[in-house]
Subunit: 255 residues, 2 copies
């Protein structure tokens, strides 16, 4: 049975998609069958894996109940990694789902049909606390929260934890935080040190030991439609996401 | 009469808030009376100017029509720059305003009462295309679109232009794009060159001549609650935002 991780943070540009694409491909390369669900209308995770959303079925008709979830799943270039793509129509769900009964659990219903087929399911989220993110919080077993090592990224953490608490009580009693992931860490600048220290002080045991460094190869890989392990497997970016996958696997092995 | 500029892009972390705070303070320091409106529930522009939103009235009761807009305006440390702050309650407007008549024009109604008092009004937006951003598009005379010089940031441009077109036809006939602003440009890496060339190829005359370089001082300034001109006036970040203000002023002088 799959463990479902949602990758969330309403602060923009903190590395949600980069983490979703590269962590999912690292668990697949470690032999665990993995599904990545792109629930962001920007469809960055979809193009980051080299797929064009205009050519395929996407999450949009699945959430509206028009298509069965199995019909939208695509194979990717990474053996063992499938993708459920997104496209810009997903912007409409924020309004169209408002009148649906159980609107916050549409994604959960779709995912529950797939759990038996995968070891891991990851969900990439948009930078907001709207209905798409609430669906991802309701569907998840655990959350991965990327935090960029910058000042503004610290500010949003309070709002996010408040929202997680509300979803936990209302829709998903077993929801837990798997870990807070420090991203774009640049040892040469003070701000990175300060933010990392601040996060470790407040969240100690919930912070992943793996820290993702700022590495230009990670920002180049999406323009080739490849995860970092296929674009530049010896880069610091690739090594750090493999370390993260090992850390996650060792936790779930015990779990 | 003020010109109203909204700073928009649903892609996260592209430099909307950094542009809002530093461009608004640069126009104020050039002697133009300026108001910055923070319409992002993350309230980064509010803290970037050293103010704590918990202690003041914010945009939230203004949009709901409970308080007059004048009552929430604060002076900042920068002479000639006022702020209309935000706080996390603003997340609620996306749902609470849905049943209001003219819900997309609530911000415009508030701003129209202030136009006579300022030369420039800037609106910082959240990273989404929801009701808060639609309000900012409806209220604006012109748009400033920051684009990070990274691959994923290029992808979202199509969606944004589609939404602008829809708002233009439905709610704001005179809306125009003032300019596309290239941000976090790093001359040492290929991606920055490629993205800048791509944007200039497609949008030629609409791209600001000023390019904002990646400059660590810009990411340090918010932790001191100061715009770059007060934190490090001789930094490349400060100089580039002053250049941008001059470019904007020279356009509006002719306009
Ligand atoms: N560790 C890193 N080193 C260098 N660049 C990175 C790193 N992680 C992410 N990036 C780049 O930073 C930008 C933001 O990352 P990404 O798009 O993954 O964030 P996000 O949280 O998914 O953004 P959004 O909020 O828009 O969904 C992208 O251009 C990405 O390529
Ligand atoms: N030119 C720059 N050089 C270096 N760092 C920058 C620059 N511009 C912005 N930053 C930093 O990058 C991060 C993202 O910028 P910012 O928060 O302004 O983007 P945003 O588009 O407002 O994000 P959001 O989508 O969450 O509202 C911040 O930590 C900011 O300090
Ligand atoms: Mg993303
Ligand atoms: Mg912002």
């Amino acid at each position: 049975m799959a463990t479902v991780y949602s990758i969330v943070n309403q602060k923009g540009g903190v590395g949600k998609t980069t983490t979703a694409v590269n962590l999912a491909s690292a668990t697949a390369m470690a032999g665990r069958s993995t599904l990545l669900i792109d629930s962001d209308p920007q469809a960055n995770a979809t193009s980051g894996l080299g797929l064009r959303s205009q050519e395929h079925k996407t999450l949009y008709p699945i959430l509206l109940g028009i298509e069965p979830v199995e019909s939208a799943i695509l194979k990717t270039e990474v053996p063992g990694l499938d993708l459920l793509p997104s496209d810009h129509h997903l912007i409409g769900t924020e309004v169209e789902l408002v009148s649906f009964k159980g609107r916050e659990a549409r994604l959960k219903q779709a995912i529950d049909r797939l759990r038996a087929k995968y070891d891991f399911i990851f969900v990439d989220c948009p930078p907001s606390l709207g209905l798409l993110t609430i669906n991802a919080l309701t569907a998840a077993d655990a959350l991965i929260i990327p935090i960029q090592c910058e000042y503004y990224a610290l500010e949003g953490l309070g709002n996010l934890l408040r929202t997680i608490e509300q979803v936990d009580q209302a829709f998903n009693k077993k929801l837990k935080i798997e870990g807070i992931l420090l991203t774009m860490y640049d040892g040469r600048n003070n701000i990175s040190h300060q933010v990392a220290q601040e996060v470790e002080k407040h969240f100690a045991s919930q912070v992943f030991k793996t820290i993702i460094p700022r590495n230009v190869r990670l920002s180049e890989a999406p323009s080739f439609g490849k995860p970092i392990h296929l674009y530049d497997p010896t880069s610091r970016g690739a090594i750090s996401y493999q370390e993260l996958a090992r850390e996650l696997l060792s936790r779930s092995a015990i779990g």
